[in-house]
C-alpha cells in the first residue's frame, strides 16, 4: 500500500515550484544567445506556469527538488567558502598586518614569563559579551 502524500505547506510548494525555474532560466539564456530556436519571450511567459506546475503537483516534482536542494547546498557551501577565503585575504590579512605594525598582538606568543592574568570578574549574567 502506498503511503498517503505528506501535507505540504504553501511555502514548501512554492519552493518546489521555484526549484523548476533554473532549467527554464538556462533555456532563456540559450535562447538569447541563439543556441535554441525557442523565443526568449516564451521562456519568460512560461516561468509563472512552471512555478504553478510545481506548486500544483508537488509530489511529482519532489525528487527533483531533493536533488536540486543537494546541488544548491553543495554549490552554496563552496561559494561561501570561496567568498570567505577572499574576505580573509582582502580584509583579515591586511588588518592583521596593520595591527602588528601598530604594535597590537591579539595572540600572546611570548615564550617565557608568567602567563597568569588577574581576573576582572565575571561581569553581568545578562550580557552575552
Amino acid at each position: 500500500m502506498n503511503a498517503p502524500p505528506a501535507h505540504r505547506s504553501l511555502r514548501e510548494r512554492f519552493a518546489i515550484g521555484a526549484s523548476l525555474l533554473p532549467p527554464v532560466a538556462l533555456l532563456l539564456l540559450a535562447s538569447r544567445w541563439g543556441w535554441v530556436g525557442i523565443p526568449a519571450r516564451v521562456c519568460l511567459l512560461a516561468m509563472p506556469g512552471v512555478i504553478g506546475l510545481g506548486m500544483g503537483f508537488p509530489e511529482v516534482f519532489a525528487p527533483w527538488y531533493r536533488g536540486f536542494s543537494r546541488v544548491r547546498s553543495w554549490l552554496g557551501g563552496r561559494l561561501v567558502f570561496g567568498l570567505l577565503l577572499g574576505i580573509h585575504g582582502l580584509v583579515v590579512i591586511p588588518m592583521g598586518f596593520f595591527m602588528r605594525v601598530l604594535g597590537q598582538r591579539p595572540i600572546d606568543g611570548a615564550r617565557s614569563g608568567s602567563s597568569w592574568v588577574r581576573s576582572k570578574g565575571y561581569g553581568s549574567l545578562r550580557d552575552p559579551f
Binding site: F81, H88, G113, G123, L125, D127
Partner: protein, 608 residues
C-alpha cells in the same frame, strides 16, 4: 517552585540541566538521546527530557542560562584570526558560517527552542570558566574551596583559579588562549590518530604502555613552565586554529613523522608520546594545584574542565598535592557546564542578574550519584522489547540480581540498565556492561568481542565502598570513577619478567587482572548504598556468592556509540555485540534465546 534551565553546546558535548529551587532535578547530554556521540548541536532533545522529567513546560521556567558568552567568544575568534594571519584562511572560512548561522543570536535560538517561554524569563550568559567553576564548587560538599578549571579554551581563558565561599565564586586569575593544557593534550591526541575532544581518554589509557622518552623534547621545545605554576606553549609547533589537527609540519618533523591515521597500527613511538604528554600534563596539573592553594589558602580543591577528566592526574593531585580534600565534578567537560550555568544563575547576585539564592552544601554532594537522566517505566521497557521481538522474563529485583550474579560468576558478560541514566562520561552502574574482574581473559574479550575497541583500553573496577581499601590504595571515596589509584599490595601478584609494549596486557598482575592496568593502577569507582542502592545490592550479592566485592564496570556501548539511554538502545547493542545477558528494568534476557542475530544500529557511528 522556581526552575532554572542550564544549557551548553554548539562546540561539543551539548547538554541541558534543570534546577528546581536550587536542587538538581535533571541533567542530560544530547548525545544520549540523539545517538550521535559528542553531539554539538543545540540540545533540544536534552531540554525536552529535562522538562519532562520535572513534569513542567517552558512556561514554568524562571531563568535560562547558557554556559558561554557568545559575542565575547566570537570577538576572541576574530582577534585570533587577525593575530594568526596570514595563516588560518581555511579555518576562517569554515568557522564564520557557523557563527553567522545562529551562534551569535543565542537568545533568539533559545526562545525558538522553548515555545511558551515567558517574555519576562531572562536568558542569562555565564562565562565558560564561570560555568565550569560553578559546576565544580556549588554541588560540592564544601563551604569554601579553591576552584581550578582547566580545559581547551572558553572565551579567552583556558585555565582559571577561583575561590568559592558559601554561594559565591570569586575569580582570581587565569591563563589565556593560546596557552592551553587542553589544546596541548588534544594536539597529541590528534597526532596519535585519535579524535580531538573524544579520544583524549584513549591516549591516557595508552600511556602506561610507553616510556617517557619525549618528556625532555616536550619541555624544552613545546611547553615552558614558570615558577608560579603557569605555562606557555611554543606556537611554532602548533596550529591552534585547526580544530581537527592542531599540529603543523614542524611538530611532525620534531616528533618523528606524520600524524598517525586512525586505521594505522600503533607504533612504540605513539605509546611513548602518550606516556610523555601524560607525564607533562600531570606535572602541569600539580603545579596548577599548588598555585591554586597558594592564591586561595584553602586546603579543599574543586576541579572541573575537560582536563579534570584526566583521572591519573587527579589521583596524583589527591596524593601529592597540598589539598586535604578534592571534589571533582563528574561531568567535568562541557556537558557539566550546562549544570554550572544553571547553578551560577541560581546563586548569582541580583546585581549581576542572578536569582541570589543562598546555598547549603549537601553532606556528600548535590549530584545524586550522577543519576540525573531519564528512566523508563517497567511497562515502557516491556513495550520496547515487545516491539523489537525480544524474548525476556520479568522478575522481582531480588530474583533479577540473583540471576545476574549467577551469570557473572559463570564468566558471562552482562548488560545492566537500571534506574536513571548517568550524567557525564562515565557509566556508574545504571547503564553499564559488567564482568568478573578475576578472569584474566576478560579484558581482551570485552575489548575485542563485546565493545569492538582497541585491546589496550583498560577497564574500571566498581568496588563496595566499605571494602575498597582492601583492594585499592585510594585513601578516600571515588563514587564518580574520577581517580586512579594503585591496586593494594596485598592483591598484587609478582610478574616474573616484564614484557614489552602491548604484550604487557597478557601478564597477570593482581587478583583482579581484568581491571589492573599494566602499571598496577586502576580507575576506581567506590559504590555506596546511599548514592547507588541498586548497584550496591548487586555488588553485595556478587560478594556473597564469590567472596569478591569488585566488578568490571564499563559503559554500555560499543566503539563510536554514545552510552545507551533506553531499553531499545540497550537491546540493539546487546544483540549486535557479544554480551551474554541483558538485565533491563525488571526484564532478564539471554542471548541464546533471542530471535535476532543482528539488528540495525540506532546510532551514528563516530570514527576515531
Amino acid at each position: 517552585m522556581r526552575y532554572v534551565l542550564g544549557l551548553s553546546g554548539l562546540y561539543h558535548d551539548s547538554a541541558a540541566a534543570l534546577l528546581g529551587d536550587g536542587r538538581i532535578l535533571a541533567a542530560v547530554q544530547e548525545e544520549r538521546l540523539s545517538r550521535r556521540k559528542n553531539d554539538a548541536r543545540f540540545p533540544e532533545r536534552a531540554i525536552r527530557s529535562c522538562l519532562e522529567q520535572a513534569g513542567i513546560t517552558a512556561g514554568d521556567l524562571h531563568a535560562v542560562a547558557f554556559y558561554e558568552k557568545p559575542i565575547l567568544k566570537f570577538s576572541r575568534t576574530l582577534e585570533v584570526f587577525l593575530g594568526w594571519a596570514p595563516r588560518g584562511g581555511r579555518a576562517f572560512a569554515r568557522a564564520i558560517p557557523d557563527w553567522l548561522g545562529g551562534r551569535l543570536d543565542l537568545r533568539g535560538r533559545i526562545r525558538a527552542a522553548l515555545p511558551g517561554l515567558r517574555a519576562e524569563c531572562p536568558i542569562l550568559f555565564t562565562t565558560h570558566h564561570e560555568a565550569h567553576a560553578a559546576s565544580a564548587f556549588l554541588p560540592s560538599p564544601f563551604t569554601e574551596a579553591a576552584i581550578l578549571t582547566v580545559d581547551g579554551v572558553g572565551e579567552w581563558a583556558t585555565t582559571a583559579i577561583a575561590r568559592g565561599s558559601g554561594a559565591g565564586i570569586e575569580p582570581v586569575e587565569e591563563i589565556r588562549f593560546p596557552h592551553s593544557l587542553g589544546l596541548l593534550y588534544s594536539a597529541f591526541t590528534a597526532y596519535c590518530g585519535f579524535r580531538v575532544n573524544s579520544g583524549e581518554y584513549k591516549l591516557m589509557g595508552l600511556a602506561p604502555y610507553g616510556e617517557p622518552t619525549w618528556v625532555g623534547a616536550i619541555r624544552d621545545e613545546l611547553v615552558s613552565f614558570d615558577e608560579d605554576g603557569s605555562f606557555r606553549l611554543n606556537l611554532e609547533y602548533l596550529d591552534p586554529l585547526a580544530d581537527d589537527r592542531l599540529t603543523n609540519a614542524r611538530f611532525h618533523a620534531r616528533f618523528g613523522g606524520p600524524p598517525r591515521r586512525p586505521e594505522e597500527p600503533l607504533e612504540p613511538r605513539h605509546r611513548d608520546l602518550a606516556r610523555s604528554i601524560q607525564v607533562v600534563t600531570e606535572e602541569a596539573m600539580l603545579r596548577l594545584a599548588r598555585r591554586a592553594h597558594e592564591r586561595t589558602g584553602s586546603f579543599r580543591l574543586c576541579l572541573a574542565g575537560g582536563v579534570a577528566l584526566n583521572c591519573v592526574a587527579n589521583g596524583r593531585i589527591l596524593r601529592e598535592g597540598p589539598f586535604r580534600e578534592v571534589w571533582i565534578q563528574p561531568a567535568a567537560g562541557d556537558a557539566g557546564a550546562a549544570l554550572g550555568a544553571a547553578l551560577a544563575a541560581w546563586h548569582g547576585s541580583l546585581e549581576r542578574g542572578g536569582l541570589s539564592a543562598p546555598r547549603t552544601p549537601a553532606s556528600t554532594d548535590a549530584m545524586a550519584g550522577g543519576f540525573l537522566g531519564p528512566e523508563e517505566s517497567p511497562e515502557a521497557v516491556e513495550a520496547s522489547l515487545r516491539s523489537l521481538g525480544a524474548v525476556w522474563e520479568r522478575m522481582t529485583p531480588e530474583v533479577l540480581r540473583e540471576r545476574v550474579v549467577r551469570s557473572l560468576a559463570e564468566g558471562k558478560v552482562v548488560g545492566w540498565v537500571q534506574g536513571r541514566m548517568e550524567f557525564g562520561p562515565r557509566a556508574l552502574g545504571h547503564r553499564s556492561i559488567l564482568g568478573d574482574p578475576r578472569n584474566p581473559d576478560m579484558q581482551s574479550r570485552m575489548n575485542l568481542k563485546v565493545k569492538f575497541r582497541e585491546s589496550f583500553r583498560p577497564f574500571a573496577p566498581a568496588v563496595l565502598a566499605e571494602r575498597s581499601t582492601e583492594f585499592f590504595g585510594l585513601g578516600g571515596e571515588s563514587p564518580y570513577m574520577l581517580l586512579v589509584a594503585p591496586v593494594a599490595e596485598s592483591q598484587r601478584v609478582p610478574v616474573a619478567q616484564e614484557a614489552d609494549g602491548l604484550d604487557r596486557l597478557k601478564q597477570v598482575r593482581s587478583t583482579l587482572p581484568a581491571v589492573t592496568h599494566v602499571d598496577g593502577s586502576a580507575r576506581v569507582q567506590t559504590v555506596d548504598r546511599d548514592r547507588n542502592p541498586e548497584f550496591h545490592a548487586l555488588l553485595r550479592q556478587f560478594e556473597a556468592v564469590t567472596g569478591c566485592p569488585v566488578l568490571i564496570n564499563t559503559s554500555f556501548n560499543v566503539r563510536g556509540e554514545p552510552v545507551v539511554a533506553t531499553a531499545e538502545d540497550a537491546y540493539r547493542c546487546f544483540i549486535n555485540s557479544r554480551i551474554d545477558v541483558l538485565a533491563v528494568g525488571p526484564c532478564f534476557l539471554e542471548r541464546d534465546r533471542q530471535p535476532h542475530a543482528s539488528l540495525p544500529r540506532s546510532f551514528e557511528a563516530l570514527a576515531d
